[in-house]
């Protein structure tokens, strides 16, 4: 490769910058389209997809919220997502710390063992998993789904946090050890506060993933009162088979599922990148 490429980058940059802004506009457009379509009538959505609604129709929202059970599903999802992501981070953090602070075959092996779970497609474990849950009477129980969520999100969380703890210096621990602080004391009082950035990132990524999780919910939740948002959305889409589609309400349902994540992201989005920096950096 030539090293005399300096002038070329001068031309490339404006093109690249334009491309970046086009990409950004497209992302914004996608969200705007869905939100605006949620207050349009079905025929408006089909016939004049680019226009604003003649008059905003909030009936879509009430049909989705009440008739299709998005309201009840939203509560279930909220409770489930908050508890599961807190617990998965809560149990992963000590594990990740322990793994990051020890060398040798056992530790490396266990780290790999957890990472292995990243590669296993969930479709394949759902049936045997069903038997396990049924054994304990945990089918169609939000608690059962909670446990499954924690277990299936362990690999990524442990993976991320192990990287994160590795990036933290260990001088403090050595100092604490000299002071006679126990290892668990060191972890809880010194390392956890230091790791805050990584924990928040892990929490957010898990929350996002769980909020949108579909497959496991579909398999293990049965009664309508236990529905999560993605299940409500799926059920809604399927209605168009045999009984026709209600596009307006569909986009209202879509908006109900994306808005909370959007708000969460606006509030804490920066923290995701901050934590990734350290967690994947090493």
């Amino acid at each position: 490769m030539s090293t005399h490429t300096t002038p070329r980058t001068g031309v490339l940059r404006p093109i690249g910058t334009t491309a970046v802004w086009l990409f950004v506009s497209f992302c914004l457009f996608a969200f705007l389209f869905m939100l605006i379509s949620s207050v349009k009538s079905s025929s408006e959505i089909l016939n004049t997809p680019w226009s604003l609604p003649a008059a905003p129709d909030f009936g879509n929202w009430s049909r989705a919220w009440v008739d299709s059970g998005f309201g009840a599903a939203a509560t279930n999802t909220l409770v489930l997502v908050v508890t599961a992501s807190v617990v998965v981070v809560g149990v992963s953090a000590p594990a990740a710390y322990a793994l990051s602070r020890r060398r040798g075959g056992l530790s490396a092996g266990l780290t790999m063992f957890f990472a292995l779970g990243l590669g296993i497609p969930l479709q394949i474990i759902v049936l045997p998993l069903y038997s396990v849950l049924a054994e304990f009477g945990l089918i169609d129980s939000l608690f059962g789904l909670f446990l499954v969520y924690v277990a299936t999100h362990l690999p990524f969380t442990v993976f991320l946090l192990t990287g994160f703890f590795r990036s933290l210096p260990n001088e403090l621990e050595e100092a604490a050890a000299l002071d006679g602080v126990s290892a668990s004391g060191t972890f809880f009082r010194i390392m956890l506060p230091l790791a805050q950035g990584g924990l928040v990132t892990a929490l957010l990524l898990n929350a996002i993933g769980l909020w949108n999780e579909t497959l496991l919910g579909l398999m293990f939740i049965q009664s309508n009162e236990n529905y999560t948002l993605s299940l409500a959305l799926i059920g809604f889409i399927q209605q168009q088979q045999y009984n026709g589609a209600d596009y307006g309400a569909l986009f209202a349902g879509v908006s109900i599922t994306i808005l909370p994540m959007l708000l969460l992201y606006l509030w804490l989005g920066r923290r995701i990148t901050e934590g990734l920096t350290a967690g994947l950096g090493k």
């Binding site: 970046v20 779970g117 479709q123 394949i124 045997p128 000299l178 126990s182 290892a183 959305l233 090493k282």
Partner: protein, 323 residues
């Protein structure tokens, strides 16, 4: 034992070397010994959950891959027949290739884009905003994105409405030849933001004075990329590549929601391995319940991923640059 903020940040600044207990000759440092003691208790709960609810079912599925199993009745041993059948099955072959296409072609697409974005964003106005917005698709359910993608590209969709408005002819964006390509483009769109975030995470850690020094020494942009950015973010690139390899094989919801209609499976030319698993078990108007067969296909994909990850790690292995 309360440490002041001062001390904390001080020690953070000073210790730039990789952490982990220092290797101690012969015996163990008191710290290592203490940390050894918490190893078991700290790992017990996650390990138990993981074993019971994840690894156990996986092992059963591996066993089931060698059986005839309808998901309900007791599996009957079938040896390796499922595997030979798989490679005679045109649907699996197609799904397998499509999976590879997503892995490799989409992977390259994402990385070229994410890498260029990263370079551009490093000193661009509104960089935080851009970074935030392009991450957005990642926070939304793939089902929702598939609905949007369909509205955008279908014959009577947004894009064609625009083309027709300006006097053009509608384009067959999602015809049999192009539908999978459109799915791949969507994958690039959805994932780029996430990988930009990861790559930026690596680049942000490179101290600014490296670049300043290089500029003073008259280095070109290319030279800075070649000698500073690339080597110093190599670790992160490796991690990102591994993450993509793993998640590309699991792509399911988007394709299913994009291609399936009326309770039917998506057209065969849109299948990937994850869709295949669903298609031969629960999917479609006439579900097949071939779980042993599905497990075999998943096992093949698991081996593929493992192989790819091993290969990647080998290829990406370099002397990590400490800084």
């Amino acid at each position: 034992m309360a440490l002041t903020l001062d001390q904390r940040s001080a020690s953070r600044r000073e210790s730039r070397r990789p952490a982990g207990p220092r290797p101690v000759r012969g015996g163990q440092s008191p710290l290592a010994r203490r940390q050894r003691r918490i190893f078991g208790p700290f790992l017990a709960i996650p390990l138990a959950l993981y074993l019971v609810l994840f690894i156990g079912p996986t092992l059963y599925s591996i066993y089931a891959a060698f059986t005839n199993w309808d998901g309900i009745n007791t599996p009957t041993w079938r040896g390796t027949d499922n595997f030979t059948a798989l490679f005679d099955d045109p649907l699996f072959i197609e799904s397998f290739w499509n999976t590879l296409l997503i892995l490799v072609v989409v992977g390259i697409g994402i990385f070229v884009l994410a890498f260029s974005f990263m370079l551009l964003l490093r000193d661009m106005k509104g960089k935080g905003f851009v970074r935030g917005v392009i991450f957005l698709p990642h926070i939304v359910s793939p089902i929702v994105l598939a609905i949007f993608w369909g509205f955008l590209l279908r014959h009577d969709g947004l894009l064609n409405a625009l083309i027709v408005k300006f006097g053009g002819e509608p384009v067959a964006w999602i015809g049999p030849d192009s539908a999978f390509l459109m799915i791949m483009i969507a994958m690039v769109w959805i994932s780029t933001g996430f990988y930009v975030a990861i790559l930026m995470a690596g680049v942000d850690r490179i101290p600014g004075y490296f670049y300043e020094d290089a500029s003073l020494a008259g280095a070109s942009a290319w030279q800075k990329l070649r000698h500073i950015t690339l080597p110093l973010s190599w670790d992160v690139i490796g991690v990102a590549a591994v993450l993509w390899t793993i998640s590309s094989v699991k792509v399911f919801e988007f394709i299913y929601a994009f291609g399936a209609s009326q309770g039917q499976m998506p057209p065969a030319y849109e299948w990937n391995a994850a869709v295949f698993v669903y298609g031969v078990t629960f999917g479609g108007a006439t579900p097949q319940y071939r779980f042993g067969y599905a497990c075999a296909s998943a096992l093949v994909m698991l081996l593929l991923v493992t192989g790819m990850v091993a290969l990647l790690r080998r290829a990406m292995r370099r002397d990590a640059v400490q800084f």
